[in-house]
């Protein structure tokens, strides 16, 4: 359950967000438009943010379930507070964000030629927004960050994108924005229901909502999240956005932004509306499995390598959604890990596509072939990342998929009657994704890397540069690290997932309030205590 466990003595979370924010301001002040100074500065800033986020990781206590390192202070007069913290559900995504952003920036060095300064400002602001979305424990704060993410991404697609960038950017914006509006209505509804004094997640969790009310609210939140994921059939903005976005935009879009949808489900939709989540679990799982098969089929039909990767995201996030709504410990942990895995492997895939695009300015699979002969390191990297994407054991993808499917089967087999049959059918259908993923990915790999070189202009292609290798190498290290020793990451999620599921399975409001009573007492104490900011300021002054 998402109570509050510990308050921060040093505001590491805010600092992590403040660094890119300050960096963006600083960039705006640096004169010139295309200088190397901008990109260098942006990279250094994002690395600093990553370094700072490591302190969040280090100070995180895996044994605790609720929010940790919480900072809480009054913000808006009508009860919205600046409350941020991390728990086992958000921690991995928080780290993923700070990890991927410098890589995306580094990867963009050669690709972004025009308005470089503005581009890096947008990237850094996007990082702030994503981090804020992940750590917000106040619903209004969450909503603001959630919507604010749209703007830099909209700009990144619309300004630095490909030929149809404006269409893609508008489609992206309208889809996600329209989906979110109902969520805002839901938030306000719950705010009023809670007495109009608070937007705090902990207060919302205590609400005694009837089933009908839950169902409507679940639908309102669920739509916003489902579009973001994106779940079938709300996914058509994704291929357009990805194809038009510059590489760095695609990396962040696939790597982090999409996860905000799946994160929203496990952070908000399931704990806040447990009865509705339980009732809607099967339909959501059906859509998830449809997404797996459908995304794979569409992927297979693509002649554009970037679009292929984009559709594969629909399939992979289908796995994540399936695990999330299987609602067993291993499936949800697997789903959280799989969010990270998808960020790493799909991020790397978009990077790899970008490497080719920068050299040949085409994304058509047919334009390549046989390039393993001339780009040897590139070929090795593409094969490794592909294996991660299709979930080969030893790579990260396998651990996530295995846990998700095993959890789905456990939920199905331990259920009875119709659910058992439906659950098994869903599990089996989802498992075909293991075959289908290999089909489209290996077909692509064969067409791009193998065979004779049929286009003369490919004969002189340069292998990856040191900079490109550094970016991809960092991702490949993660591929194997998570694949071989996932406990390092999974153990961070265990307590929070267990608490969330216990509360969900409990389903009884009394139990939930009982669970929160202790938290409340602590929270009251803490609120009475001097602000950690002030403490920090005093320390600095001393």
């Amino acid at each position: 359950m998402t109570g509050i466990e510990t308050y921060a003595l040093t505001p590491f979370i805010s600092l992590t967000m403040l660094i890119p924010l300050a960096g963006a301001v600083l960039l705006a002040l640096v004169p010139g438009r295309h200088g190397a100074a901008h990109r260098g500065l942006a990279f250094v800033v994002s690395v600093l943010a990553f370094a700072c986020s490591l302190s969040v990781w280090v100070n995180f206590d895996p044994a605790r379930a609720g929010f940790q390192l919480v900072e809480d202070r009054a913000w808006l007069p009508f009860g919205a507070r600046y409350t941020v913290g991390v728990d086992g559900i958000s921690l991995l995504l928080f780290m993923l964000t700070t990890f991927l952003t410098p890589l995306a920036i580094l990867g963009a060095f050669s690709a972004i030629r025009k308005r470089a300064k503005e581009f890096y400002i947008a990237m850094l602001l996007l990082e702030v927004a994503m981090l804020g979305t992940l750590v917000a424990a106040d619903m209004l704060l969450f909503y603001l960050f959630w919507e604010f993410m749209l703007i830099p991404m909209y700009l990144i697609i619309g300004v630095w994108g490909g030929e149809r960038r404006v269409y893609a950017a508008v489609k992206f914006f309208l889809f996600t924005f329209l989906g979110s509006v109902l969520m805002l209505v839901g938030i306000i509804w719950m705010h009023l229901k809670a007495g109009g004094g608070s937007f705090a997640l902990v207060d919302f969790l205590k609400l005694d909502l009837g089933f009908r009310e839950q169902a409507w609210l679940f639908a309102a939140f669920g739509l916003a999240f489902a579009i973001k994921v994106p779940m079938f059939p709300f996914h058509t903005w994704l291929p357009d956005a990805h194809v038009e976005a510059p590489t760095a935009g695609s990396v962040i879009l696939a790597g982090v932004l999409l996860k905000m949808g799946t994160y929203g489900f496990i952070r908000f939709a399931i704990p806040l509306f447990p009865d509705a989540a339980g009732a809607f679990a099967v339909p959501v799982m059906v859509l998830a499995v449809v997404g797996i098969v459908y995304g794979s089929l569409c992927s297979f039909a693509q002649g554009d390598v970037k679009k292929l990767v984009a559709y594969s995201s629909v399939a992979h996030l289908g796995f994540v959604m399936l695990g999330m709504f299987a609602l067993t410990q291993e499936a949800v942990e697997g789903a959280i890990l799989q969010m990270v895995n998808h960020g790493i492997s799909t991020g790397a895939l978009f990077m790899l596509v970008g490497v080719l695009y920068e050299r040949r300015h085409t994304r058509a699979i047919d334009a390549y072939g046989g390039i393993a002969r001339v780009m040897k390191v590139y070929a090795a990297l593409l094969v490794i990342v592909t294996l991660s994407s299709i979930g080969l054991p030893g790579t990260n993808g396998f651990v996530g998929e295995f846990l998700i499917l095993a959890g789905t089967f456990r939920e199905a087999l331990s259920g009875g009657g119709a659910f058992r049959a439906i659950g098994l059918a869903l599990g089996i259908a989802a498992a075909t994704g293991v075959v289908l993923g290999a089909v489209y990915m290996l077909t692509m790999v064969r067409k791009v890397l193998f065979g004779p070189i049929v286009h003369e202009e490919n004969r002189a292609l340069k292998d990856v540069s040191f900079r490109e290798f550094a970016v991809l190498g960092a991702l490949v290290v993660m591929v194997f690290w998570i694949g071989v020793y996932p406990s390092f990451f999974l153990s961070r999620t265990t307590a929070s997932v267990r608490a969330t599921l216990d509360a969900y399975k409990g389903r009884m409001v009394e139990q939930r309030t009982a669970l929160l009573r202790g938290v409340d007492a602590r929270a009251e104490d803490a609120r009475a205590a001097p602000s950690p900011w002030r403490v920090a300021a005093q320390e600095v002054a001393r």
Partner: protein, 651 residues
């Protein structure tokens, strides 16, 4: 000394597994910058180290049931817990000896065979990686770890089949192997998902065995659940061990370098399916229906592939179908409850088939790449070592008495007739039918193998371009060692009770599974069958001699003409590939196209998403307004809207 080894078996096991991995990493990363000699040293040294460690570990195991060693917990979530643990028992001991022993020889051979290849270090890196995965497969204590190795060997197979990837056909063959295997893996995974639920989170083989021993719960003899789980697992085995209906990838896999065919696609990886069934013998034995299906699949594959082997003209294709056929015997053995016999044949086959493939490689090397046996002939004179070793192995596979293949194949044939599930046969005709198919396959085996031998080594050279010569010592030494094994390996499993070291050694592994079968055979039947086998083997050889070497050389062509369509059907491998193309691949491609073009691009995107705005003008105009890129207006609208909403909620 023994005490020291005995206490350190665990450490030795990690050496066994990690030495090849280290070799793969060194050659994979540094290889292109290393001297060729260094690459060879690392590449061959790693499997040799692993072999020595395997031998020591096996020595240290003797007398104990099993040794287990754990590095760390790999996956833990909810009830699921999988440790990175290795497990040495008599079965895995035998397997690691085969894998590292034959593996070392083939690595040595490769230094000669791949001598001039520009991607020399990549080759050894992949081959070492294969050994690592195969050893993990064999030694994994958990079924999931076995699966890690299982997928790993599949990956290396993919990489090595497509080793010469400039040739699109080879790259396609590699992909086909991977995908067909993935279909099998899908079944393997489903089986594991159910098992991990039944076992409340553990997939450790010893734990599984204990649970089956305890009985009750889901592990009911003849239960539907057990039947479905074992069938799903068997689907995995059909993929890896190239059984009908998933056998189609193995003949194409011959696109890889020939030592790869010997190691991966004959001696080791393809036997993983058989190994898995043997490993889980106690579980499979609970499901007589599954066992019957396993046996029938094996026998049918043995016969089916042998018939294709008879009409192939590519030396490696003959051996490929021969491998499919021999794997059928092993699967048949496992299916009738003769797990020890199945693994016995696995071992003898590893020797003679590796020798045959390496011999073929030596021939191809000498013929400068030519693989068509119609162009060969008379090579025996020019390549005496290759010929002699090839002949020994051919005699062994044909089942000529006193050579290894005779003992192992015969035991399977005998037990096919003799063994029955203790709960009674699923159907009375299954045993005799399997026996008949296997016996027919034995006749064909002797015939097609000697057809191959005569066409390759006897008579006069039919190609005018080739200048064949004997291969270097690095290639002939492995041939001699393997031929010795092909001749003598059978003596560890003599069909005489107190001399059958093999059965005795493996007894602790198979006793649970074997206990669910009863023997209705007798020594009279066993020795009688030996006589029948001998007659069949010699008859097959005589037939091959008469048809391709002796007085009846005009008959094959006439027979082919007389058989007409059927002959062409067999030559076209019964057109199974074409069938799959028509019923699976093309429909899938069409489905993908329809899904994307019509359902996605048109149905969802054009109609549902973009339709309303286009149809309704005012929405369209909003899109146009937005589409002119006025971002400030956009942001302003967002914040104005937000401000209004905030104002509304302020009490």
């Amino acid at each position: 000394m023994h005490a020291l080894v005995r206490d350190n078996v665990g450490t030795l096991l990690w050496v066994v597994v990690f030495a090849p991995l280290a070799g793969a990493i060194v050659n994979g990363i540094l290889g292109p910058r290393l001297k060729r000699g260094t690459v060879s040293l690392v590449g061959v040294g790693a499997p040799v180290v692993a072999f020595v460690a395997s031998a020591l570990a096996t020595w240290g195991l003797a007398g104990r049931e099993a040794v287990s060693t754990t590095l760390f917990t790999w996956i833990q979530a909810g009830p699921i817990r999988v440790d990175l643990s290795l497990w040495l028992d008599p079965l895995s001991a035998v397997m690691i000896l085969i894998v590292t022993g034959i593996g070392s020889l083939i690595h040595l051979y490769s230094t000669g065979y791949m001598h001039g290849d520009p991607s020399y270090s990549r080759y050894f890196s992949h081959l070492n990686l294969f050994l690592f995965a195969m050893l993990l497969l064999v030694l994994g204590k958990s079924l999931l770890l076995l699966f890690v190795g299982w997928e790993g060997v599949g990956l290396c197979s993919y990489l090595l089949i497509g080793f010469w990837f400039d040739d699109m056909a080879k790259a396609v063959a590699g992909k086909k192997a991977f995908l067909v295997n993935r279909i099998g893996d899908f079944g393997f995974l489903l089986g594991m998902f159910v098992l991990v639920f039944w076992m409340e989170g553990s997939l450790d083989v010893p734990a599984l065995r204990d649970a089956v021993d305890m009985g009750g719960g889901h592990f009911v003899p003849g239960g539907t659940g057990v039947m479905l789980v074992t069938l799903a697992l068997f689907l995995g085995a059909t993929g890896k061990s190239a059984q009908i209906p998933l056998h189609v990838w193995l003949p194409d896999a011959m696109a890889g370098p020939t030592p790869v065919s010997a190691l991966i696609h004959a001696a080791t990886m393809v036997t993983a399916g058989v190994y898995m069934i043997a490993r889980l013998n106690f579980l499979f034995a609970l499901a007589p229906t599954t066992m019957a299906i396993v046996a029938l699949t094996g026998a049918a594959t043995a016969l089916f592939a042998a018939s294709i082997g008879l009409v192939q003209n590519d030396i490696k294709k003959v051996l490929a179908y021969s491998t499919v056929s021999q794997l059928g015997y092993m699967v048949l053995g496992a299916g009738v409850g003769a797990f020890g016999a199945g693994v016995f044949h696995l071992m003898t086959h590893a020797f003679f088939k590796a020798c045959l493939f390496l011999g073929a490689g030596s021939v191809i090397h000498a013929m400068a790449g030519c693989q068509d046996i119609r162009l060969m002939g008379g090579l025996g004179k020019r390549m005496p070592w290759t010929r002699a070793t090839f002949l020994v192995s051919t005699l062994a596979i044909a089942g000529v008495p006193l050579l290894s293949g005779f003992f192992s194949k015969d035991e399977i044939l005998y037990k096919t007739l003799a063994l029955q599930p203790a709960s009674g046969p699923v159907a009375g005709w299954i045993g005799p039918l399997c026996f008949a198919m296997a016996l027919a396959a034995a006749l064909l085996t002797a015939t097609y193998m000697f057809r191959l031998y005569f066409l390759t080594f006897s008579g006069e050279l039919r190609s005018h371009h080739a200048h064949p010569h004997e291969s270097p010592a690095s290639m002939t030494i492995p041939l001699v060692v393997l031929a010795a094994g092909a001749a003598l390996a059978g003596y560890v499993g003599l069909p005489i009770e107190h001399l059958n070291f093999w059965e005795h050694w493996l007894h602790p592994v198979f006793e649970d599974g074997a206990a669910r079968f009863v023997s209705t055979g007798s020594h009279a039947l066993e020795y009688g069958l030996m006589g029948v086998s001998t007659v069949v083997a010699c008859g097959g050889i005589a037939l091959a001699w008469a048809l391709w070497r002796g007085p009846l050389t005009h008959v094959p062509a006439k027979a082919a003409a007389a058989a007409g369509g059927f002959y062409r059907l067999v030559c076209d491998r019964y057109r199974i590939d074409e069938l799959y193309d028509a019923i699976a691949i093309r429909p899938f491609q069409a489905l993908a196209r329809v899904t994307h073009r019509w359902l996605d691009a048109f149905g969802i995107d054009a109609v549902l998403v973009n339709g309303p705005p286009r149809a309704v003008g005012w929405i369209g105009s909003i899109v146009r307004v937005a589409a002119n890129g006025d971002v400030q207006a956009y942001a302003a609208a967002l914040f104005v809207g937000l401000a209004v909403l905030l104002w509304l909620v302020i009490p």
